[in-house]
Symmetry: C2
Subunit: 473 residues, 2 copies
């Protein structure tokens, strides 16, 4: 399959990689996708890293229902305004019209906080540190595999705290210690962590934090969000607790999530014209072994391949011994599928006591002695991880700009050059003006606002924030 | 909380255990449940064992959409007849009425086989060995936590094969090597594996296999099912492949699943009047340590507890150092929650270089020297597993009957005595007669029908099967 060049048509490249690498496809139900085995194995690896960190930081998993009585959604004003237009509604069940329609969860704050009302009575019941892995549905008109689908898979954390400070600290901890760490350490993708502007906040949140990653077409992808919800949901759902001071108070909330959209980010942050480049920690297969032989050598080579695979211990190895395809065909396929390391093993290699090792990230090929393979392969994988992160970091540096004028700002943003940073006066008018002219938005503000010396790059008034703009997914 | 006695009111006992052990509760959406952290940790342990075995036997995980166009359901006649009355229907999305209603999957054969039509062209594409972990919705009028809820969590495997023999072997392998092994080895519950009668088959199946476990009230619980679907779904969804013989043929299918109902089985197969008895391999906490001290001894005891916990390595330990509760309160709570081993540690124990170990299954208590604890605890856990299995097996033997007459059969079944085994002539009339009179059904027939010497316990005609009847959940 011929892959379009990234530089010619990035969206077509993306679509063809998702298809060619057999990650996912559009389903027969409009707006939903089928996640194929290779794509789902990636998602399982992602889940495993996120889940481990969520538990390490003291959270437990739970499960709340898919279907939510419509009246529950209506209780938090901003939240219903944000989500009502996107919900799928169940009106019939068991052959009858329902007395009250049920919505399919677009997110679960409503049913969770309505339930927390039963669980929280005293400060002794706090904090509640819960998470769930679930599917959600948000009606979408224009969908794109992994990036925007009507149904998607995610985790959503929902915590309740005694004080605002504790909840704010939780939202930040999740952003940095769970999400940033996962994306940087498992995905090998550097991220900007920061606050969203008011216009980009989650419906019902006091503050939305996010990590943003730069894709290879210069667009930003929001890779995870963590919200400080204040007492909004506690008040909407009547959740109160008896405080240490003997007074009734409303608990403080956070919610936070990452989704299957991370798979899209993985594709677009590392991929090249040959296809995927998977970071070793997430790759379903870290090494593919392609045996090369003529018929009479088959037995010897396949035995050696098996031995070598066994010698690699915990490394996830795929042996591609399909007879109906030639080695060259296999090379292309596994490059498209992004396997970090390919080992080519033929009779002459075996005679020389070595194998040829090809690394997908740099395209370099080198002979490795069989005896050192058990240590050389893990070292190579570790080096590939570092090198992928470094490349992505350099790409981001090269595509981060500090324009000197409004004209330069809009030129950079209109051409989708990457992250564009400049002073901002904090006014929604300046934010809207840039968005209207370029479609770009402020992706993040620094986590902690620092005094700014310069001026708003839009209006020239004194700046109060350093904003990072970009086109985005 | 006072637990009703099992012998007084088993359903009330069940409900109170689920509530008191904080496993789950009814949700605000009718028919759905909230799975609480302790219950969800059990489900995660169950998933882990099932998933490992599904992958070990060559299957990959995938994900198909939640929502299915209604027209897809209508294509397999038996299937639609079985499921149409139970579906939840989405009629509105994104603020508009949908052109075609979508159903929430009650099971996914329809959308999966409609998709397989795109994936299967040649015998080289077979077998497809896929599984998904998902939520499904089947409208239920009367629900019971874990046992029967409108939404439940499960895995559903869907495979496609070149030949009938291969598909039949797959359905059996899943039943025995995945489901039976999981329930016997992880749950410590012995099961009967066998075929279902025609009237108890999955809608659209040629043959349904099941494992059945006996609960402590004498009722059977279907703990897992595996279906051989023949070519029914391939024909309904137009899935054909080019065979080795150059001819087009329809592939042969299986589907199989286990669900959150297994948690209900776990509760009812082992529990007693004090609450849950968790098998060590699934227990979220295998050991709870309860420190016992007066104020001035607190530091010494808690330090020792920490050291002892660390010495237990991979054992899942909970230290209950809550100050607001007395040891006796904690003992009751962890007995209700079924933790297999409790270690009680006080100053006098520490002076004597020992701890008191209590095992939940037998109620025995013994002193264990601190020095031997790291090996004694895993040994104790292994023994508890064996002992739970043995108890359940003995209970089943004591509650399995071979009636000599029809009157005895119906007496045994009407009083819910357990498994009742006898010859059956194979006629639906005899099956219906027993069901009408006692509400009991044939739970399983042997996996391989063997020649029967005796007579049908219902009508006296020659028997062709050995049937096992029971009341069931």
């Amino acid at each position: 399959m011929a892959l379009p060049k990234q530089s010619d048509d990035f969206p077509a490249w993306y679509q063809q990689v998702v298809k060619g690498a057999e990650l996912a496809e559009n389903s027969l139900a409009r707006g939903s996708m089928v996640i194929r085995p290779y794509g789902y194995a990636l998602w399982e690896a992602i889940q495993s890293g996120v889940d481990r960190r969520i538990k390490r930081t003291g959270h437990s998993n739970v499960y709340f229902p898919l279907l939510i009585p419509q009246s529950l959604l209506d209780k938090e004003a901003d939240h219903v305004e944000g989500f009502a237009p996107q919900v799928a509604v169940v009106t019939h069940g068991g052959g009858s019209k329902l007395e009250e329609p049920l919505i399919i969860r677009p997110t679960s704050e409503t049913i969770i906080w309505a339930t927390y009302a039963k669980w929280i009575q005293s400060y002794r019941d706090l904090p509640l540190l819960y998470n769930q892995w679930a599917n959600v549905v948000r009606w979408e008109m224009r969908t794109r595999l992994f990036l925007r689908t009507s149904e998607f898979l995610w985790q959503e954390g929902h915590t309740a705290h005694e004080t605002a400070d504790e909840a704010i600290a939780e939202a930040r901890m999740i952003l940095l210690d769970v999400y940033r760490e996962t994306v940087e350490e498992d995905f090998a993708i550097p991220v900007l962590a920061g606050r969203k502007t008011e216009s980009e906040r989650f419906p019902g949140a006091i503050e939305t934090l996010a990590i943003e990653a730069l894709m290879r077409d210069g667009k930003a992808l929001q890779a995870g969000t963590s919200h400080y919800l204040g007492q909004n949901f506690a008040k909407a759902y009547g959740v109160q607790f008896l405080g240490r001071d003997g007074q009734q108070d409303f608990p403080y909330a956070t919610s936070w999530g990452v989704s299957t959209r991370l798979v899209g980010g993985l594709i677009m942050a590392h991929g090249d014209d040959k296809g995927l480049k998977l970071p070793p920690r997430l790759a379903p297969f870290q090494v593919v072994i392609v045996p090369i032989y003529r018929d009479e050598q088959k037995g010897t080579v396949l035995e050696a391949v098996k031995r070598i695979s066994d010698s690699l211990g915990d490394v996830r190895v795929k042996i591609d011994d399909r007879e109906e395809h030639r080695p060259g065909y296999k090379f292309n396929e596994w490059e498209l599928k992004g396997v970090p390391v390919r080992l080519e093993i033929g009779p002459r290699d075996l005679e020389a006591g070595q194998v040829m090792a090809y690394r997908r990230d740099t395209g370099e090929k080198s002979a490795v002695p069989l005896t050192s393979l058990p240590s050389a392969v893990p070292d190579l994988l570790a080096d590939i991880h570092r090198s992928l992160f470094q490349s992505a970091l350099e790409f981001r540096s090269e595509h981060t700009f500090a324009p000197g004028s409004y004209a330069e700002l809009t030129d950079l943003l209109s051409s989708g050059s990457g992250f564009v940073q400049g002073g901002w006066c904090g006014s929604p008018e300046c934010e809207d003006k840039v968005k209207d002219q370029t479609k770009a938005t402020i992706r993040v503000l620094p986590l902690d606002s620092e005094a700014q010396e310069g001026h708003c790059v839009v209006c020239g008034s004194p700046a109060i924030e350093l904003a990072t703009w970009a086109q985005s997914y």
